[in-house]
């Protein structure tokens, strides 16, 4: 099918491609990384820079007593030993609540604790020294009196009436509750057949290859703070540092250099961030902190951690009618800041059942505190949980009725005549391509042949499973996501374009780059929008001082919102160029065009180059008529104003082979048919999908933060926590359907989370399909060999 000979399986161009938009072009910025010339935050070295290290709590829950620091302070190279009290004076606490999550509560947080520690690994004391090694030496001689308290660890135990409370002032360990109700599920279940699930989803974590890092550099002479930080959201951190340390926002600059992976993990505020900024303010010198891998496991946000009980009511003809859901999720000791820890669960209960026509729906969400690492948004927030719950229910109903998994889905999808469609949970779909994607996947997998092969192999004792999973994905969010709740998180983007005096284009934009190719697609859009070679467009991102403020990168918004911003900015610059050229050429601007870097007549014959236009505007503006401005810098800001979110959709297929004697699963192949609207660069979309699929397969089979009874993380290292390796992963076949959103001219929606949203659900269905003839089923992710053997009754 592919890859005969050549070895390279680069995506083909989009059918609706233009000069650049829709082309599978490599990323210009990747060459620098391939030459070893990347500049990540830990590579930043500043004069007089000091290094921070943290002493962390060995207990999950303890009262903090006396801290003995004198000996550490006297160690060679040590400049300061700082505790909670030092920061309490200079940093206003932060609380991870937003007003649109009514009733959400969370304990205020400070850089370092003053009275209690609430998870094992919480930073307690900071040493700042000439080198990281000297700082770590000093940690060895610090004494802390801890009075151990009973920890809250297990999700169910945390809700027990007699459970110890993490927040002593609160009535229980519940941080947030919500219920969604549409129609009458009680009636539906009374009248119909039903299936039920009780699914558990383990905690896992991002494991970015580059750990979190920042260098804070305070200059008291100008009262200026510059922070070099490995993050995807520099504007958000600029706002946070300014507000919480009482600095002028205009004097706070956050620079995100090359970022070695983020996946949502690096957009949350961490206690160490505030301590490093605070230490720079106190010491008036640059201070660097780079988390080592053990610190990353014990302090980077964790993800998921759900127990979901749900049931589906359906009729004899296979028509689905109602779903009831009870999701309990454990989020660590407090709600994360500034995006809260309620979003994950909120999206679970709103996304369940979303692709299907349901008349009745009820979902309860309970967000529970535990003495574990904080849980918050990570790639595909809530989607994999909602998808797995829904798609497992659908498969179970199909089995009850003797229907094929493809057939039951085909009968129940929201149909093409129903758009715009509002789900019972309140989401609105502009237009999806559910049935098209389903049919495409059926053909792509050669499904009948796969089923025949499966049956034949079962005769020989080989247990293969085939699973599919439909998803919808939230992208292009409006302020409905965070802004309405009071968060200083922008849903708009800004782009400044400048035609330089030499006739090149410099682009500064507020979306950011973590390797997904934001800069590449913006370059393609601007080059096409203005009408010049892509090599002549230079894109700058990730610096609050030199780019316009905007939302940056989260919730799959870069291509859809940032891309539209760039396109409209390009239109503005093009209009400026044509106005100037028209004045010089004594032509009507509307009769001119820009192609391949030259102003042309409508028929394409060149009149003057962009270099000539720019030279003229910058150096010989005296030649322009008085009413024609020489300005060749334009700015454009854009925020979506139509649908609150642009939903993408698609479907995954998974083929696995389960060994019933060892419980080991071989992932043989994975297919994705996805629709993210207009595709700007299919090569990059494919790689976003593939990377996302593998992160989802990690959650499905390998990745879990395992805790002991006392709240100790048991596998916080790269040898104990399993991330997917090359030898375990399958080739992934991808096809595209394009349903552009009409909310923008560009028509693009997000794609970065689509791979993760459904790959674990497809794998869950595939494994259970393999286990079906053995009379077993798994209902917990990750599906480890042990859990599969338990399901089979072997152990």
């Amino acid at each position: 099918m592919r890859r005969r000979g050549g070895g390279v399986s680069a995506a083909t161009d989009s059918p609706g491609r233009g000069r650049y938009i829709g082309r599978g072009l490599p990323r210009p910025g990747a060459k620098r990384l391939l030459a070893g010339r990347g500049r990540y935050t830990d590579d930043v070295v500043l004069p007089r820079m000091l290094h921070a290290a943290f002493l962390r709590s060995p207990y999950a829950h303890a009262r903090l007593g006396a801290i003995e620091t004198a000996e550490a302070a006297a160690m060679p190279g040590v400049h300061a030993v700082l505790t909670g009290a030092d920061f309490a004076r200079i940093c206003a606490p932060w609380t991870g609540t937003l007003s649109h999550f009514k009733g959400l509560r969370s304990a205020p947080q400070r850089p370092l604790p003053t009275d209690r520690v609430v998870w094992a690994g919480q930073p307690v004391v900071m040493v700042v020294a000439e080198s990281r090694a000297e700082a770590e030496d000093a940690l060895e001689v610090i004494g802390i009196d801890f009075e151990e308290l009973e920890p809250v660890v297990d999700l169910d135990a945390a809700r027990a009436a007699d459970a110890p409370r993490i927040d002593a002032d609160a009535p229980d360990n519940v941080l947030f509750r919500t219920r969604i109700e549409a129609g009458s599920t009680a009636e539906a279940f009374a009248e119909a057949r039903s299936v039920a699930v009780d699914l558990r989803f383990g905690r896992h974590t991002a494991v970015t290859m580059e750990p979190r890092a920042l260098v804070a550099d305070y200059d008291p002479a100008e009262e200026r703070l510059t922070v070099h930080q490995s993050t995807q959201t520099p504007y958000q951190f600029q706002d946070i540092y300014a507000r919480h340390f009482g600095l002028s926002e205009a004097r706070v600059r956050v620079i995100a250099p090359d970022v070695g992976g983020s996946f949502g993990m690096k957009l949350h505020l961490y206690h160490e961030d505030m301590a490093v900024v605070g230490a720079s303010l106190l010491l008036k010198r640059p201070v660097k902190f780079t988390a080592d891998r053990m610190e990353a496991f014990a302090s980077d946000i964790h993800a998921r951690d759900h127990r979901v009980r749900a049931r589906l009511a359906f009729a004899e003809d296979g028509r689905m009618r109602a779903i009831e859901v009870d999701d309990v999720t454990g989020v660590g000791p407090f709600s994360a800041y500034p995006r809260t820890s309620a979003v994950e669960g909120n999206q679970v209960v709103r996304l369940i059942g979303a692709p299907y026509r349901l008349s009745d729906y009820r979902a309860d969400l309970t967000v529970v505190a535990q003495n574990k690492v904080q849980m918050s948004q990570y790639r595909a927030v809530g989607h994999p949980i909602a998808c797995a719950v829904t798609e497992r229910l659908v498969d179970l109903a199909a089995r009850e009725l003797g229907l094929d998994p493809f057939e039951i889905r085909r009968r129940n999808y929201v149909t093409d005549t129903m758009y715009p469609h509002r789900t019972p949970s309140g989401y609105t779909f502009e237009r999806l391509s559910l049935a098209t994607c389903l049919d495409r996947l059926h053909a792509l997998m050669d499904y009948p042949a796969l089923r025949a092969e499966q049956a034949a192999l079962r005769e020989t004792g080989i247990h293969r499973g085939i699973g599919i999973a439909t998803y919808v994905e939230i992208t292009n969010p409006t302020p409905a996501f965070y802004g309405v709740g009071g968060a200083h998180i922008s849903a708009q983007d800004g782009c400044v374009l400048k035609l330089t005096p030499a006739g090149d284009v410099a682009c500064a934009i507020s979306i950011t780059e973590q390797g997904q190719g934001s800069e590449a697609i913006v370059g393609q859009i601007v080059a096409e929008g203005v009408g010049l070679d892509r090599d002549r467009v230079r894109v700058l991102t990730g610096d609050t001082e030199t780019t316009p403020s905007g939302g940056a990168t989260w919730a799959c918004r870069g291509a859809g919102i940032g891309g539209e911003t760039a396109l409209q900015a390009a239109r503005k610059l093009r209009a400026r160029i044509l106005e100037i050229a028209a004045a010089i050429l004594q032509a009507e601007a509307s009769a001119l065009d820009i192609r391949d870097g030259a102003v042309t007549d409508a028929d394409g014959s060149p009149r003057m180059t962009l270099t000539e236009v720019a030279n003229l505007a910058y150096y010989r503006s005296d030649l322009l008529p008085p009413d024609v401005s020489p300005a060749l810098t334009v700015a454009h800001h854009f925020a979506p104003r139509g649908y609150p979110f642009a939903f993408t959709n698609g479907i995954h297929g998974s083929l696995v082979e389960v060994d019933p004697e060892t419980g080991l699963v071989r992932i043989l192949k994975h297919w994705v048919v996805e629709d993210c609207g207009r595709i700007i660069n299919p090569l990059l979309v494919d790689e976003q999908i593939r990377g996302g699929v593998v992160q989802g397969l990690g959650a499905a089979f390998f990745e879990e933060c395992r805790y002991g009874e006392t709240g100790q993380l048991l596998n916080g290292s790269m040898t104990d926590y399993l991330v997917p390796m090359a030898c375990e992963m399958p080739d992934i076949v991808i096809r595209h359907v394009e349903t552009p959103t009409q909310d923008t001219e560009l028509g693009a929606k997000g794609c970065g989370e689509a791979g993760t949203a459904a790959s674990s659900a497809a794998a869950l269905n595939a494994v259970n399909d393999a286990l079906l003839p053995l009379g077993a089923a798994v209902s917990q992710l990750p599906m480890t060999p042990e859990r599969i053997l338990r399901a089979l009754g072997v152990v």
Partner: protein
């Protein structure tokens, strides 16, 4: 603390002499003392492969060695391999296939892929995809899902084999 010790080694073709603390890892030495920041630290326990460099021509984890142990040896990092052109074909294939995203794991993968392809050429066969995946199993990548990396390495292997056959 033990006093700094003298080391003399060859790094990317240039002779280097320094005094280093015996506890300093080779990776920290290359990054901090020599500014060779293509050496990346992802785990510091030899699991992730981001710090892999060539030591006397073979890939090793720079995080698992002390700088003093490299005394008298030859080290090549991606900076040097890039300047010498040794990895030019791999770089071109990775670029065309978009076989990297954030780029943090990439230097270690390039060093491993170079040695792997050298071994394959000695064996005279184009490696299978499975063999490439096995060879990469000491290199974690969180962005790509690996397939593009396998494609890129396979493409270089096939081109090298075809060139040899034509010669």
């Amino acid at each position: 603390m033990i006093a700094p010790q003298p080391v003399a080694l060859t790094v990317n073709g240039a002779k280097v002499r320094r005094f280093v603390e015996p506890r300093l890892s080779l990776a920290d030495f290359l990054r901090q003392d020599l500014g060779l920041t293509a050496v990346h630290l992802g785990c510091e326990i030899g699991a992730c492969g981001a710090c892999i460099v060539n030591l006397d021509g073979r890939p090793v984890h720079a995080c698992l060695m002390l700088a003093v142990q490299a005394d008298g040896m030859h080290v090549e990092t991606v900076e040097g391999l890039s300047d010498s052109g040794a990895i030019a074909a791999l770089q071109a294939a990775f670029h065309a296939r978009n076989a990297l995203q954030c780029g943090f794991c990439t230097p270690g993968i390039l060093v491993v892929a170079l040695a792997f392809l050298k071994d394959c050429r000695a064996g005279g066969a184009v490696p299978s995809r499975g063999a490439i995946r096995d060879a990469l199993s000491g290199n974690y990548c969180r962005c790509t899902g690996y397939e593009a990396i396998v494609d890129a390495i396979q493409g270089v292997a096939e081109a090298a084999c075809a060139a040899e056959a034509a010669a």
